[in-house]
Amino acid sequence: MSETVAPAAGGSLSPVAPAADPASPGSAGGGDGDVREQVVSLYQKQRKIYPRAVSGWFAGWRWALVWATQLLFYGLPWLEWNARQAVLFDLGARRFYIFGLVLYPQDFIYLTGLLIVSAYALFLFTAVAGRLWCGYACPQTVYTEIFMWVERHLEGDRNRRMKLDAGPWTLEKLARKGGKQVIWVALGLWTGFTFVGYFTPIKQLGAAVMSFGLGPWETFWTLFYGFATYGNAGYMREQVCKYMCPYARFQSAMFDRDTLIISYDAERGEPRGTRGRKTDLKAANLGHCIDCGLCVEVCPTGIDIRKGLQYECIGCAACVDVCNGVMDKMNYPRGLVRYDTLNGMQKHLSRGQEFKRVLRPRVVIYTSILGVIVLALGVSIAMRSPFKVDVVRDRGTLARIVEDGWVENVYRLQVMNTTESVQRYRIAVAGLASMATDLKSEVAVEPAQARWVVVAVRVPPDVASQAGPGSHKMEFIIERLGIAGQAQSSYTLVEKSTFLVPR
């Protein structure tokens, strides 16, 4: 543990310090060094956090990602492709359309691939620069940012919101709070609607909403997802990160001493204290921290970054932005609170030296595994077969002897067309000599449909007796026929199976 998360620069701080909580009983005691005990409740009423608005370089990045992710999320279901919704997960028909791709439930391996890529990307980003995902792109952060923007425009910034909450219920308070609720609920419902629009064609869904004809499950999921958005972004906020989110907890296990984290330069900042702009720091024995408390006020999880790395810190860099503004006003250099590594801070490494340390074994391993998986996934999707065949031996008939002693086995072939045009397939068999099927014609399968084809395969009696009783390897050779006009070449798939000769 001390290897992954070392004590912060302050020295007196524990590796994972608590959030400073002036209201908690612990800090009320006032220590004279004696070990005094007291009994406290394990459960505590949550203190509401009023984060102050912040602007700056990193806040700009966050808003850029809010726009990018939300344009994608809200916009994608409205795109058209091949006269259908471009991205549609049709659970009822079990077909998953992603632009040109038509995926079957059998393609779930790609989802596994996507999840592994996401996981390794998270490992990699976290090892290099801490909780980047949490601070900029996580839906919890993104929606909280949007909901707080609404809140700020109706109820004002931190101080006005606190005053409004403390004050009596006036008509103005009612109007401001009511307006906020209306917009929040609308945002939540729109998010829920969009979410369901990935599973039910969104234009039909829109028409159903207009005519009050939404099905029970669509209604449920729209409301459920809408409520989750509203509740998580409006009320739960930092508590989701602190108490619910597993990633928040295990990301700290991926930190090391060369990970960029939001750091307070205590050496430079301490001793902190108020001062005038022209005060001589040496004479007054002051560091650069003017103890304005803005870094605490802007923090969405309500912690004081000057206490060092804490598990609540989601790495949003709001304190970096606000502190840089203060430093500018004081004519001090920026970066009293900044992205820095523990090693960099302690050993006074230059940016160049820190950059060299990025290429450490853990990062190289993460990157190469990520690269290999991305490559494998890409190649696998690019070389995907345009159809699939599942061979199922008939459950009713293992093997039978028909006229003149021919041995017959029955198979059911599920031919799955993963293209969006009608396809014709020719089915042949190989394995034992003179093996033949009873199929007289080619099999046609409708676009993006699957069809069961019953095939009886037979061999003559002499071949069967020569092969002997038992199971024999054989294969189905399924050829998708080319279409000359549409420049579609033929494609052959071989599926293994067995042929049984009875005793």
């Binding site: 005094r36 005990e37 394990l42 008939d394 008939t397 009886a456 009875p502």
Partner: protein
């Protein structure tokens, strides 16, 4: 609970459940307070030299979620079975739910079957939807024995044979009767009437020769006169007798497999085939559509062979 016949077990389970629920709440109350160092909100525990355990309280709403789960359990146990042998105030059972679902499904399907109820088989076979329903019914209820391609296997009749090669199932009505009531096919052991093992082998070869299958012609010649024992049912020419369920031996359809060995087995041990009655498993409307579908299988063969 069938292994726990003593009613004391029910009481034991119920008591354990209730004590468990109460213990959950008690644990919550007892453990909700803890000692911390007054100065720094730590518990006083230190590991690895500088790793101190802090008291970071859970949010209170989290505690209420726990309480809700206990309350939910109590309400659930009042409504549903779970508290020992108490069956719950709703009297829910899995079998009752299954039957209710089945009744609902039957009711929902009734309008679909309504239009087929009075349609004769000749008309049903021309109706694509009826045949699609028939196919589903066949695959779900019949394919286990008769195979996905309906051509059966050893001991299970081939349903695609033309009408003239079928016993007791030439018309859709006969098929319906077999589905509803089942059917038994019997051939007594005939070895004693035929003679020695050698005689039986000769008769088997003669039977093979009737259909023009590969056989030992010397043995067949010897077996011809012994066939008299079989002729009582199968007829002197082996063409069978549908009235008593004796199959035609001159065609190439072998219910119990082709070959000398299979025929020797039939003569020596007899045959007893049973088709179980399906009347209780399907509704009359389903059987009506299904019998038309099965009837159509043999008609399709005839058309294809033309």
């Amino acid at each position: 609970m069938s292994d726990f016949v003593n009613s004391g077990w029910g009481i034991f389970v119920a008591a354990t459940t209730i004590v468990g629920l109460i213990a959950c709440i008690a644990l919550l109350i007892i453990a909700s307070k803890r000692r911390v160092m007054a100065d720094d909100n730590t518990t006083g525990h230190v590991w690895d030299e500088d790793l101190r355990e802090l008291n970071n309280p859970l949010p209170r709403w989290w505690m209420w979620l726990f309480v809700i789960t206990v309350v939910f359990s109590a309400v659930y146990l009042a409504f549903y079975p779970g508290l020992g042998s108490f069956s719950g105030t709703l009297k829910w059972t899995s079998q009752g739910q299954f039957e209710a679902e089945q009744a609902r499904a039957t009711a929902a399907l009734a309008p679909v079957y309504a239009k087929y109820k009075d349609m004769p088989a000749e008309q049903l076979v021309a109706d694509a939807q009826a045949m699609a329903i028939g196919e589903r019914l066949y695959l779900n209820n019949c394919a286990q024995c008769h195979g996905s391609d309906a051509r059966g296997s050893k001991g299970f009749p081939n349903l695609t044979l033309p009408a003239e090669s079928r016993l007791a199932t030439e018309t859709a009505d006969q098929i319906k009767a077999v589905i509803l009531q089942g059917r038994a096919g019997n051939m007594p052991p005939m070895a004693a009437a035929v003679g020695s093992a050698e005689d039986v082998r000769n008769v088997a070869n003669y039977v093979l020769s009737l259909s023009g299958s590969a056989h030992n012609s010397v043995a067949a010649q010897l077996g011809k006169e012994k066939f008299a024992a079989c002729a009582a049912c199968h007829g002197p020419e082996g063409k069978g007798n549908k009235a008593i369920g004796a199959p035609n031996l001159t065609d190439k359809h072998w219910l119990y497999g082709w070959g000398e060995q299979a025929i020797i087995e039939a003569i020596t041990n007899g045959r007893a085939g049973v088709m179980p009655a399906q009347g209780k498993l399907l509704t009359p409307e389903q059987v009506h559509v299904l019998s038309a579908y099965v009837w159509n299988l043999s008609r399709a063969t005839k058309v294809a062979s033309k």
